[in-house]
């Protein structure tokens, strides 16, 4: 049975063809595919559903029929009304595609896509890049806040790493070489933007106010730690600081972030979600899913890839063959920027601009956008912009100066020359040089900061070591919202066993 719409289309087409000759035969195979033959042009035309209206059909159909009659063509079957050699576009459900008559591959090693350049405002010697575009300049106050956080992060990392080596807890990983990515991005966000981290973003937590005591509590898994000792070290989580509890499998947090952004968009909350992931994690299927979903849904999520050159021992050139992770963004329909991850000012600017773009607000136009932390305006749709909310991809290029973790010895797969060369490009030192040039920082302040931080970290570790571990009976809580009978039974059995054999339970683990 034909729908009303297709009857109207058929009538229109018959009328158009009537201009060329007598319509001989009209038969309808389905509601939307019908054949028409007319005496001047021996052509049977089948029409497929298409997004353009019958008026345009008529136009291109006329052009097509002119062509047919001038060529004296026999039976012609057209897939869509405008798919003829006289037209320039192919209309398919995916969109409108221009034609080419040349057989030319694009992409691949012979004809690679152009490499996306790296945005940078401070060079490797700590000097301003002349004529750099810095839409969000950093004040002295903000610069010092960012620098002290980077320095504290670096010291904290070094000391916690050493503490693990001394056996105080089982595992640690540092973000050495990526301090600028951590702090620059954290500073560019609003404190309520939900962060989904991979595991090398402790700087974001530090920026938002996670204390050294809280870090130490989590590393030691003691009773004060809100995760109740259930996750391994560095798997922090804090709803107050909008930082989701870290989950070990790589890239699983990427669709989570899209889900959170979808929640914000649906409820019209002016917030973005932010997800960090590495160059290795971007190979996971979840990364592809997250990119694609975010673009299709227009979800306000900022994808921040920390491309630090290594995934444990796999160097980046064995992880992908394309133009890194930034090269993928445009093909998903995601606005993308590659940034020098060692330049904290560039990272900061990129994230502030990305945030505005993700919310569908004006950005990058010399300070029109609201400053971070004020929450901005509504989602998209203002008179100044026709952009809706959507994802943004930032690829921050840096180098993993440290080992992958305390379980890794990277000298087994990279040379000490390479590591030495990169240590010389330490982003903390680079920014310090920039600050010193401005007269905003000096040696004495540096020494004092490092000394104070070392003392604070040691104090935090000592304090955390004094706190007992969580009760053994908490092993069974939070599996569900309330404890079901089978877990009650298991708990009773476990506690009863421990009471009968107290030596199996370490002395710093209370039973109940």
């Amino acid at each position: 049975m034909r729908s009303r719409g297709s009857s109207a289309m058929l009538a229109h087409v018959v009328k158009t063809i009537g201009a060329f000759g007598q319509v001989k035969d009209t038969s309808s195979a389905t509601a939307l595919a019908f054949s028409i033959s007319c005496d001047r042009i021996d052509t049977s035309i089948r029409f497929y559903p298409c997004s353009i209206g019958p008026e345009l059909w008529g136009m291109s159909l006329r052009r097509h029929l002119h062509f047919c009659s001038s060529q004296g063509q026999a039976a012609v079957s057209v897939g869509s009304p405008s798919s003829s050699t006289t037209d320039n576009f192919l209309e398919v459900p995916g969109g409108r595609l221009p034609y080419t008559s040349q057989l030319q591959f694009v992409g691949g090693s012979e004809t690679p896509a152009p490499t996306i350049p790296c945005y940078r405002t401070i060079d490797s010697t700590g000097q301003d890049v002349p004529d750099a575009h810095v839409p969000y300049p950093i004040s002295q106050e903000l610069s010092l806040r960012m620098y002290t956080c980077m320095a504290r992060l670096q010291t904290m990392d070094t000391m916690f790493y050493e503490a693990q080596r001394q056996g105080r807890f089982s595992f640690y990983l540092t973000c050495q070489g990526e301090e600028a990515t951590n702090i620059g991005s954290a500073a560019g966000l609003d404190n309520k933007d939900m962060v989904f981290a991979q595991y090398r973003e402790q700087g974001v937590l530090l920026w938002r106010g996670y204390t050294l005591e809280q870090f130490a509590n989590q590393l030691l898994g003691n009773a004060k730690e809100p995760g109740k000792g259930r996750q391994m070290p560095i798997h922090y989580g804090s709803p107050e600081l909008a930082y989701q509890t870290i989950s070990s499998p790589l890239a699983t947090q990427m669709p989570h972030a899209v889900g959170a952004a979808y929640a914000y968009k649906m409820d019209r909350i002016s917030q973005v979600s932010v997800v960090y992931f590495g160059d290795g994690a971007s190979s996971e299927g979840d990364a592809h899913a997250a990119f694609n979903f975010a673009a299709v849904l227009g979800a306000p999520v900022i994808f921040i890839c920390r491309n630090n050159g290594y995934a444990i021992s796999t160097p980046a050139h064995e992880q992908y063959k394309g133009d890194g992770i930034a090269g993928r963004g445009p093909t998903y329909g995601i606005p993308t920027l590659r940034v020098d991850g060692g330049d904290v000012r560039a990272v900061y600017n990129a994230v502030v601009a990305a945030r505005a773009r993700a919310l569908g607000m004006p950005y990058n136009s010399g300070g029109v956008t609201s400053a971070p932390g004020t929450g901005g305006g509504g989602l998209g749709g203002g008179s100044e912009t026709s952009l809706g909310p959507g994802p943004v991809l930032l690829e921050c290029m840096s180098y993993r100066s440290g080992h992958h973790s305390t379980s890794d010895d990277s000298t087994r797969y990279r040379t000490s020359e390479e590591m030495r060369a990169w240590r010389a490009r330490d982003p903390v030192a680079r920014f310090r040089t920039w600050l010193v040039r401005r007269g905003w920082w000096d040696e004495a302040q540096e020494a004092a900061l490092r000394r104070t931080t070392r003392v604070q970290v040691l104090e935090a570790l000592d304090a955390a070591a004094q706190v007992p571990k969580p009760n053994l009976s908490t092993l069974f809580t939070d599996v569900y919202d309330t404890m079901p009978p089978h877990l009650e039974a298991q708990r009773a059995q476990a506690l009863e066993f421990v009471r009968r054999n107290p030596s199996v339970c370490p002395s710093d683990v209370p039973i109940e």
Partner: protein, 371 residues
């Protein structure tokens, strides 16, 4: 955990006849208590009941949303979200690209951010692609975050052996999921319990994996009103009896009740219990039944190895050993991929004649009640 009234099925279920199959009557009331029939109540199909549940819960709570393939404009492959996008919009009934792990992860993230997503797998078997997100994140994050983040999701979809759908579309995921700590497994079977249980699942703060059966969507029956919310952890006593306890769930309930028709004629009095809660088991109802009859037959559609019956059998042996007169019998599907051919498919799953045979073996001979 949310608990309301125990839901008893109304009398006289009728299964829509598939081509080439006789219609089955799902059992006489026997001695069980009957719910007072409301003469005016019309019968609806299970897909409509599920749709009503989703609609009512979405209306009641603005944080409830649906995501999955073809759930929005198409209305769902089994019509469980038919027309809901018109009422709630494209965001709350979200059509997703094809990536089960992707949209399952999206659901986890949305749930941790304050929504209550219902994630639909077009077929339960496809959710194998989402196993990583379900196991490592959905089931774990409440625990590993120390209770700071919760994941109030419902993961639902049709599973079970259909009618010649081939091996990949005939998976029984309850066996694979049952070990995951942190998720609850619920299997609906009747029109009434499907609606009441889905409502409860949506309101629960735990992640619930909600098993529907591909062949039950057109079963007709009565439903409760919008306040009827079942208890997710309570099994259903389908038929009280004395001879043997038959534990079953999902479509096998109907197979068992068909066998019960024959068994009653032969003079047996089996007790039939629909497990409903596959994890955790309702040990209160289960042990009460075992202590009464002292014989257990488990009838399930999942494979024998590592199935729900395997877990239930172990638990019954451990906790009710001295209450048993006979070893626990398990009637399960064969440990083979489900063949396409009709006869082979029928041979891989449990048929009612096997249930009759098992009861006869376990209970011994009986004098027939009447001729």
């Amino acid at each position: 955990m949310l608990a309301s009234r125990n839901v008893r099925p109304a009398a006289g279920h009728r299964m829509a006849a598939a081509p080439g199959q006789r219609a089955l009557l799902a059992g006489h009331p026997g001695r069980r208590v009957m719910v007072a029939a409301k003469a005016q109540k019309k019968e609806i199909m299970m897909w409509e009941a599920l749709r009503e549940a989703i609609d009512e819960e979405m209306e009641r709570d603005p944080t409830v949303c649906v995501m999955g393939e073809d759930v929005g404009h198409y209305g769902g492959s089994y019509k469980c979200t038919f027309g809901l996008y018109k009422k709630y919009g494209d965001m709350r009934v979200l059509d997703t690209p094809i990536c089960e792990n992707g949209f399952m992860g999206m659901g986890v993230g949305a749930a941790m951010t304050g929504l209550r997503p219902i994630v639909e797998g077009m077929n339960m078997g496809f959710l194998l692609l989402a196993f990583n997100q379900i196991s490592n994140n959905c089931g774990m994050l409440h625990y590993t975050s120390g209770g700071q983040f919760k994941v109030p999701m419902v993961i639902r979809g049709p599973g079970g052996v259909g009618r010649q759908l081939g091996a990949e579309h005939s998976q029984r995921l309850e066996s694979y999921f049952q070990s995951i700590p942190g998720v609850q497994l619920v299997a609906c079977s009747t029109v009434r319990n499907s609606k009441a249980l889905l409502k409860a699942a949506i309101r629960s703060d735990n992640p619930i994996i909600f098993f529907e059966h591909v062949l039950l969507y057109n079963v007709k029956g009565e439903v409760g009103d919008k306040d009827e919310v079942a208890c997710l952890e309570r099994a259903e006593v389908v038929r009280e009896g004395t001879d043997v306890s038959i534990f079953t769930y999902s479509r096998m309930r109907y197979v068992v009740m068909q066998a019960v028709n024959d068994l009653v004629k032969k003079g047996y009095n089996p007790e039939v219990i629909d497990l409903i809660s596959l994890k955790p088991f309702d040990m209160e109802t289960i042990s009460k039944s075992v202590r009464k009859t002292r014989k257990v037959i488990i009838v399930e559609e999942c494979m024998k190895t590592g199935g729900i019956g395997a877990s239930l059998s172990a638990v019954i042996n451990e906790s009710l050993f001295n209450d048993l007169d006979h070893e626990v019998i398990r009637l399960s599907s064969q440990d083979v991929p489900t063949a396409y051919a009709y006869e082979l498919e029928a041979a891989t799953i449990v048929q009612s004649s096997q249930v009759v045979d098992a009861v006869e073996r376990v209970c011994g001979g009986r004098v027939a009640a009447t001729v």
